[in-house]
């Protein structure tokens, strides 16, 4: 009950065989094509905030609407960036689910 072993119901699975399937390789490639660029994008977009705020405070203090400045707008935009990113990810990942289900279809 302690080590994460497959339960008794699961038949012995040839993991290497599934891993070598072209459909599975394609799934991994598709995931990497989305996740890697998305991760690089959000990290750069996010880290730009402390870098700009820390090192270019005069630029960030520019007012855009009343007393609301670039710094506040950029910080607020991070929330929308995160929500949009999550929305896109869920859409894309739903397609991966279908491929993953096909890959393991014969092994249930």
């Amino acid at each position: 009950m302690s080590a994460p072993n497959p339960s008794e119901k699961t038949p012995v699975v040839n993991w290497a065989e599934i891993e070598a399937k072209p459909a599975f390789r394609q799934l991994l490639a598709r995931k990497a094509r989305f996740i890697i660029p998305a991760t690089i994008f959000f990290l750069i977009y996010y880290l730009a905030l402390p870098v700009l705020v820390g090192y270019y405070p005069e630029l960030m203090k520019k007012k855009v609407w009343g007393e609301v400045n670039v710094a506040y707008v950029f910080a607020l935009s991070q929330f929308f960036m995160a929500w949009i990113m999550a929305f896109i990810y869920v859409r894309v990942a739903a397609q991966w689910d279908k491929v993953a289900a096909e890959v393991i279809h014969d092994h249930h």
């Binding site: 891993e19 820390g54 995160a82």
Partner: protein, 524 residues
């Protein structure tokens, strides 16, 4: 101390205790105790994750930080939310597919289980304790203000209540306490934001105008809280200030994906798809909450007189701004409500933290390291978890009393994030995505990441005086996170290849990306 706040406060405590006893009756075995029978749905888990996250640091700490340091305090809010993209894209689904109860399950999959579990358990206990200290400090401050109880007995009282939740309730109880608390906290935050905007005649222009000339109800010279730099700017923090801000940001955005008490939440859902949807639910709730922190954080600086938010010894009372704002704008009833919710928040978060720490010690260290993965008697793992909960609680109470009430809760939690990002994140990522990764690499990554981040905190200006305060940053992330990754990488390539680990990479990859053979829901 009037009667109403006390009644409100006690009824919250009673409500959460009822949930705990209800859950205790449904605890039938380890999967129920540690993972709520994997029966929690997406939105429920999303609320519970949000509940775990909207801790004393988020509500009490950040509002105080924004009230005193303006825009720079808001940086915590932003980092706390964006961090969830790391969880969503990289960690949540592989973890749910390949693990069972703890973060170490994923690591032990293809690596030598005993050293990896031992270190992962140590790191889990460390991060949880850091996080818990922040909650204890917040709880002590609230009880002090609400009931007039001194700080020390207040903290001890919280510790005792928390043990009741964990010892009897397990994961199902803490999950439901979190869900209810998340809803109450959101309601409180919305009402508080509404009252602040009402104070400024529902005009955003007027509100931001006031924030840009915040004078603490006329009790101080006006300062512009909209402008960055009041905490990390060169003029205030010296030449290292901006780098400290970047370091904080890095720790926050990478830390959540290594927080044990957040990671274990993904084991309470039936499958990876539900894990994914629960992250999205959590992001929606947490994001709204953090946007509101600007209303009551900034709002406090425009409304509250300095004398109200100063402790007896003249320091800024950085953890009590939100409840005091509620008192000023909504009277005693609203103050009682906000305080009770904040206190429930702390109890629930502390219970979640204790759960993950004790699960890790019982499951990883006791069962798998000492007893080689065999439970001698049924129920032993659960019993050890309960004993661990007691010890972790006692240690955190001790340190919280030592630190005292004036240290900011958000700052303390920021440190927990940096430790999690340095020790846990590198090994989680590398074990899922790098075939060559081996046991030596995991041990090096966990050990060096953990010790370097702790060491840098001790060497910073917040460490003990005899270490000389030689490290110029308060937040260690920008140094310790790369060190954690580097140690994991060097530990791997400088030691022999591990054919077993590489052979099992195929299995882990298939499991992580398809969910084949994942732990199933057990209840019903």
């Amino acid at each position: 101390m009037s009667v109403l706040p006390l009644i409100m406060f006690l009824s919250f405590v009673a409500l959460t205790l009822l949930i705990t006893f209800w859950a205790a009756k449904r605890n039938t075995g380890a999967s129920a105790y540690f993972a709520a029978g994997r029966s929690i749905t997406g939105w429920q888990n999303g609320l519970a994750v949000a509940g775990d996250y909207m801790s004393a640091a988020s509500f009490l700490g950040i509002s105080g930080m924004i009230c005193f340091s303006g825009y720079d305090g808001f940086m915590y809010s932003v980092g706390f939310l964006v961090a969830y993209i790391t969880v969503l894209l990289i960690v949540a689904e592989p973890l749910r597919n390949a693990g069972k109860y703890t973060m170490a399950d994923l690591l032990a999959y293809r690596l030598s289980p005993r050293p990896v579990r031992a270190l992962a358990s140590l790191s889990t206990l460390t991060v949880s304790t850091f996080y818990m200290i922040a909650q204890m400090v917040g709880a002590g401050a609230i009880i002090q203000r609400l009931i007039g109880l001194p700080f020390v007995p207040a903290v001890i009282g919280v510790g005792v209540l928390m043990l009741v939740y964990v010892v009897f309730g397990g994961m199902l109880a803490t999950t439901w306490v979190q869900i209810i608390k998340a809803l109450l906290l959101m309601a409180g935050a919305i009402l508080l934001s509404y009252l602040v905007l009402q104070h400024h005649s529902f005009s955003f222009a007027k509100f931001f105008e006031a924030v840009a000339h915040a004078d603490y109800g006329g009790s101080a010279d006006p300062k512009n809280l909209m402008e960055p730099g009041l905490k990390f700017g060169v003029a205030v923090a010296g030449p290292w200030g901006p780098l400290d801000l970047v370091s904080l940001g890095l720790g926050l955005v990478l830390g959540t994906a290594g927080l044990p008490h957040i990671l274990v939440r993904f084991y309470t859902v039936p499958d990876a798809k539900t894990a994914r949807s629960s992250v999205v639910w959590a992001m929606a709730i947490i994001g709204l909450f953090y946007i509101m922190t600007t209303f009551f954080g900034f709002g406090a600086a425009t409304i509250l007189k300095k004398a109200l938010i100063t402790t007896i010894d003249g320091k800024p009372d950085t953890n009590m701004v939100a409840p005091i704002l509620a008192q000023q704008l909504g009277g005693e009833t609203f103050f009682a409500f906000i305080s009770a919710v904040a206190f429930a928040t702390i109890l629930a978060v502390v219970a979640g933290l204790t759960m993950s720490a004790s699960a890790s010690f019982a499951h990883d260290f006791y069962t798998n390291v000492i007893h080689h993965g065999k439970e001698h008697r049924p129920g032993q793992e659960v019993r050890v978890a309960r004993i661990t909960a007691f010890c972790v609680g006692a240690v955190s109470i001790g340190i919280a009393i030592y630190l005292g009430p004036s240290v900011n809760a958000a700052f303390l939690v920021g440190l927990a994030f940096a430790v999690a990002a340095s020790a846990n994140l590198p090994v989680i990522v590398l074990s899922v995505f790098w075939k060559r990764f081996n046991t030596a690499g995991a041990v090096a990554g966990l050990g060096v990441g953990l010790s370097s981040s702790i060491l840098l905190i001790l060497l910073s200006k917040n460490g003990p005086a005899f270490l000389g305060h030689v490290f110029p940053l308060e937040n260690p992330g920008i140094v310790s996170i790369p060190i954690g990754f580097l140690a994991a990488y060097l530990g791997t390539i400088l030691t022999a290849r591990d054919p077993d680990a590489e052979a099992k990479f195929a299995e882990l990859t298939v499991r992580a990306h398809t969910g084949l053979g994942a732990e199933k829901a057990t209840s019903h």
